[in-house]
Amino acid sequence: MWLKLAGGVLVLVVCSWVGFQLAARCSGRPQHIRQMVSCLGSLKSYITYASMPLHEALMQCTQGIYGPIADFFHHTAELLEGNGGLSPQQAINTVLGDMQGQLMLKQPELEILSILGANLGQMNRQEQGNYLTMIIEQLEKFEGEAARLRDLNTKMYRYLGICGGLAIVILLV
């Protein structure tokens, strides 16, 4: 009896945890995109107004932002500074690969980041500014969509986790 009870509680806890994790991913995505937009806005200013070298600008643009998005920019900056032969695109792709699982971003955002690297540092200041504005606008569109999905799915995943767990327990018992 006690064994069944313990097993049931365990199944319920695991299913709820999975549901909450999925819900967290859902609500984390718009937050990460928002942080990314904010960092890219600062990056644009450091490039267009201060003409700051890319690795320094990448390091500075995360001021006030913590967590995986700040780490993404820091790691990219460190890679570029440490290995002069690496292009921004290579550095960004390497960091994206290393941080898989930490960034709650989906394929469209990851593609945009990869494209960002292709032209970073290759243009004059004005063009670089225009290019970053375009990237920011695209990310803002994704943020709107991610927020809509968050409102729609966060509660659903939580309930699904708990209810799914309960259903399994009932079926097994």
């Binding site: 070298p53 890319l54 570029l80 500074e81 002069g84 921004p88 243009m123 004059n124």
Partner: protein
């Protein structure tokens, strides 16, 4: 002497030049014996053309394994990728930070070495807006040769312990910046006969002082202020107002506003130490704007340089006011 030169060249290459070259190009150059590299003046790269090293007044082609070759087919041909990689390494992936320099056709790397660029110009309203599709690079080695101005110093100091305004005249690559740098150092430092003076340097191309974060990386003496990356004309007047130097030094006068600034500085009681491109006085006289410098005898002394028999050879030292040759190479 050659041993010191060998060591200096190798260390300059390792410290400043190789870090901005793709590893395979650095490996090719490393194969060249140090005795030959001691005379290295320029590294020239052109898309689909051989990698050239200019040693003294001659150049050599290199194969993909670093052997000196005479046959064009055996030479290593530079690719667009090589050029792009060098630009990427020099700019640290930040070409936008070198917008002004790219417009002027050169970048200056650490150590004051100048990298000349050629490619396709983008015009806006008839004026050069940017340079794209860069296809040629010329990496020019800047050298600090202390004492190369010893011969000139006695002729440019007056009896009143004042520097006589001096114009260094030389074709490109004949060592005028190196001489200018040493004269600045000696004037700033002073010696037993001559008291050191306050010198203001307007280093538009960051070649004279090779500043890093505004601090000179070469020895310019203890009484020298450097205005780095500032246009000459603006910089000369700015320095006179802000730092009150006794001497203003600058490189490569050429534009109308430079001549105007020299005239203004001379009338403000400041001595000028400057350089200009030209084979001799007559050539400079025929040039627009800077010809006025000779015509109106703004300078007291002309020092003419050449690369025969070697770079940095002083041909003549002339007293402009008396039209008299004070010293001439035999």
């Amino acid at each position: 002497m050659l041993n010191i030169q060998k060591k200096e060249s190798t260390s300059l290459l390792e410290k400043f030049i190789f870090p901005v070259l793709p590893p395979h190009l650095a490996a090719i150059i490393r194969v060249i014996p140090a005795a030959q590299l001691a005379y290295l003046m320029e590294i020239r790269l052109r898309v689909n053309s051989p990698l050239l090293l200019v040693l003294g007044s001659a150049d050599i082609m290199l194969s993909a394994v670093g052997h000196i070759v005479n046959d064009l087919d055996a030479a290593y041909l530079c690719t667009r990728d090589d050029i792009n990689k060098i630009l990427q390494l020099i700019s640290k992936n930040s070409l936008y930070a070198f917008e002004q320099e790219l417009k002027m056709g050169f970048l200056t790397i650490n150590g004051g070495h100048r990298v000349g660029l050629a490619g396709q110009a983008i015009l806006d309203g008839g004026e050069m807006k940017a340079l794209k599709n860069i296809s040629s690079l010329n990496i020019r080695m800047a050298r600090e040769i202390k004492g190369c101005g010893d011969k000139v110093m006695p002729y440019i100091i007056s009896r009143e312990n004042r520097l006589l305004s001096t114009l260094l005249i030389s074709p490109p690559c004949c060592g005028k910046t190196t001489l200018l740098r040493d004269l600045i150092r000696q004037i700033s430092r002073g010696n037993q006969e001559f008291r050191g003076q306050q010198v203001g340097v307007v280093d538009e191309r960051s070649e004279i002082a090779a500043c890093k974060n505004g601090i000179p990386t070469v020895d310019l003496g203890p009484r020298t202020d450097v205005l780095d990356g500032c246009p000459k004309a603006t910089g000369m007047l700015m320095l006179i107002r802000s730092m009150s130097p006794g001497i203003v030094a600058t490189d490569e006068l050429g534009r109308a506003e430079d001549v105007c600034a020299v005239r203004e500085a001379l009338n403000a009681g400041v001595s000028i130490l400057a350089s200009v491109h030209g084979r001799d006085i007559h050539e400079v006289l025929a040039r627009p704007y800077v010809g006025e410098l000779i015509q109106h005898q703004y300078f007291d002394r002309y020092v003419v340089l050449s690369d025969r028999p070697k770079v940095g050879t002083i041909e003549k030292i002339i007293d402009s006011k008396k039209c008299k040759i004070l010293w001439e190479r035999e």
